[in-house]
Subunit: 412 residues, 2 copies
């Protein structure tokens, strides 16, 4: 099955992702900032009132901010009442799912123009509270109730991966190093230090000098969070928002001569509790969602020239690049180690720094990935521009893969 | 704008709504129960695996149950992985909004069959905690932070209505009496007592006998909650779930010879904070959503022969029947008083007892209304069957009207 009519991105914006910068802002203020940035990016001009619907990806503003009914709040603050507004929640895949539904709504005939945004304001809570809030995305009956939170869930996946493929944590460290090298080229990224600079800064406090990135990552200054995952294997807590403007093929050229077409989409579900799965080293929902997206787009993994994948933990990036068909099973970490996924590699992965280094305000992440593809495919990514990419893919994961949304974009 | 292809309901089910009956069940168990009831209602048989997508309306299982990522949980428990699953949150209009998106997804070409459900498991919390949780749907910056909760918000609307139209609380009491007369005919309803029986039961404890329904409602046994609203003006706290199965016109006849067509839909947004509105006696979003639905359906308010409206408080029903164009402004309460909206009246409103007496597990309410239309228009509503209705409308409100979803159904 496919969409009855084509859909393109005609504008994209985002706030900087950060854990401290936005401390005094509410989620609604961040959302408006991202939406204004998106509107400002539309070559021939855009008024919010052009939108026939608003989709807001958000995980749990209920808990993070004491505010539900999130989409109505955002419609109000964008000044677009009575435009229909829908909040979509699929854990950390909330705004990837919202992108699918935005495109579906255009294809249905009910809209020509849709704003799809995502937002999460997490920093009001302590890190422990955030960890508990995020654990709402796991299985309350069988996981969180017995103490499982996401660092430990992904740690179990990493242990299983190491055993199955006889690999080690060094490959995960290669992903950390690569994503931190990318983030310093992206002014929207939370972290603006690569691992060399981080090691120098953190080493100075204790009078230590690290010979290279790996030596720092191996040290006790990078403590274990949930073995085998260490601090720098985990994405940070972030505040932020992102927004894109989708238009039907019929009206896209009214807004820009260089739209970015959504040529494929997929979404799939899997068991929410990790223990119900036969294999911890693959996300079945990612495999299915990407297969559907490739089929709709009429392309193969070899066609993809740049990708943003959901690296909430480094192990997640290794597995993602395998599930998406970029590398054989068990070779995702090795590909990073060999530089294949670097900014100048054969298939740049997370040129924006990824969740790991760009930050992960969970509900905003899927749309922030679409923002990155819009910029990359239009050659507007600045210092982290990938050379000559025509086709890009985004992969947004909810929880440990119980929801996965994938889209494929082509330079229009 | 309209849908690219037609959509019908081919099956509908729900749990009984109740505050105590389901105390030991989780939301996922209630959801499965409702979905099984819906599948069982499909004349020619239905397998959950026939569905191409799942939509789950839910307000805040995050707070009520400590479980987010609600749609993935439900897909898992229905055994339909990897089917895409989306949670839709628009406060108490969550599942009305989910119905719109389910139909939109079929119209887009991405699905032929969609399950749309709604669920809320509220009884784990105390009534005070529930009131606070529900207040997440109001404006956290400008309403809840200064003590406003929904009883007081709707009380402000009632006061304004009384003043503007020179009417009194007696008209609201007429709505209570009517909805409780209806609920005793609906075995799925939370309350199984009309106001005569309630007055008798409650009066016995203090040795009092009430001459009629109104005398009881005026008494101190019906205490003020937020003046002018009394206890019996407010819907109860409820647990429950509902589900419908939507199919494209292309495949609907595979499931039943008597589908119920969704001939019109609308959704609209309004300011979330009440104080930002020029008039508290109308929900602008309800007016807009219904205008859009009437236009798509090619009918007028006079065409509607039965309606379920969102009577979270009695004043909401009075206003709804005006916003929807059934009665002139200021005449909604009077219409109830005159019996026009009774089960055998000229336009039966809430024949199932409404939120007031059937119960209001908030995320389930919109789909429960669609369930009611499915039964009514197929002449399967049992003792609360309305005579000969061919066209019915549902009206599902989020918060004090910041989100409103409307659908119009016709016997297929």
């Amino acid at each position: 099955m496919g969409l009855h009519r084509g859909v393109s991105i005609v504008g994209a914006g985002m706030t900087r992702f950060h854990n401290k910068l936005h401390i005094d802002k509410t989620g609604r203020e961040l959302f408006v900032e991202a939406a204004l940035d998106a509107a400002g990016s539309v070559d021939k001009g855009f008024s919010f009132k052009d939108a026939n619907a608003l989709f807001v990806g958000n995980f749990t503003s209920d808990v993070f901010e004491g505010q539900g009914h999130t989409a109505a709040v955002m419609a109000d603050w964008l000044g677009i009442n009575p435009t229909p507004a829908y909040r979509i929640e699929d854990a950390c895949a909330s705004s990837g799912a919202a992108l699918n539904l935005g495109a579906i709504t255009i294809a249905s005939g009910m809209a020509d123009v849709v704003i799809v945004g995502g937002v999460e304001k997490m920093s009001r809570l302590t890190t422990d509270q955030v960890t508990d809030a995020l654990a709402l995305a796991a299985d309350s009956s069988f996981e969180t109730s017995v103490g499982f939170t996401f660092p430990s869930i992904y740690a179990a996946m990493a242990s299983s991966y190491f055993k199955k493929y006889n690999t080690t944590w060094d490959q995960l460290a290669a992903i950390t190093i690569k994503n931190h090298r990318n983030c310093i080229l992206n002014p929207k990224a939370q972290f603006q230090l690569d691992i060399i600079a981080t090691g120098k800064k953190m080493g100075e406090k204790s009078g230590r000098i690290f010979k290279n990135e790996m030596e720092f990552l191996r040290s006790d200054l990078n403590p274990v969070i949930a073995s085998p995952l260490k601090l720098f294997d985990c994405c940070p807590v972030s505040d932020g928002a992102a927004a894109v403007i989708l238009a039907s093929d019929k009206v896209a050229r009214k807004y820009t001569d260089t739209p970015v077409k959504m040529i494929g989409m997929g979404q799939a579900s899997d068991t929410i509790a990790l223990h119900s799965r036969p294999d911890f080293t693959t996300l079945r929902a990612a495999v299915k969602a990407s297969e559907d997206a490739y089929k709709m787009a009429g392309v193969t993994p070899k066609s993809i020239q740049v990708a943003d994948v959901h690296d909430c933990f480094t192990i997640a990036e290794a597995i993602a690049t395998e599930d998406l068909g970029f590398f054989p099973k068990g070779q995702g970490g090795k590909a990073a180690e060999e530089g294949k996924t670097a900014l100048n590699g054969e298939l740049p992965i997370n040129p924006d720094g990824g969740l790991k280094a760009k930050g992960h305000p969970v509900g905003a992440t899927g749309v922030a990935m679409a923002h990155e593809m819009f910029k990359q495919l239009r050659r507007q990514a600045g210092q982290h521009q990938v050379n000559g990419a025509e086709v890009g893919l985004i992969h947004n994961v909810g929880a440990a893969g119980a929801s996965v949304a994938v889209q494929i974009y082509r330079r229009g």
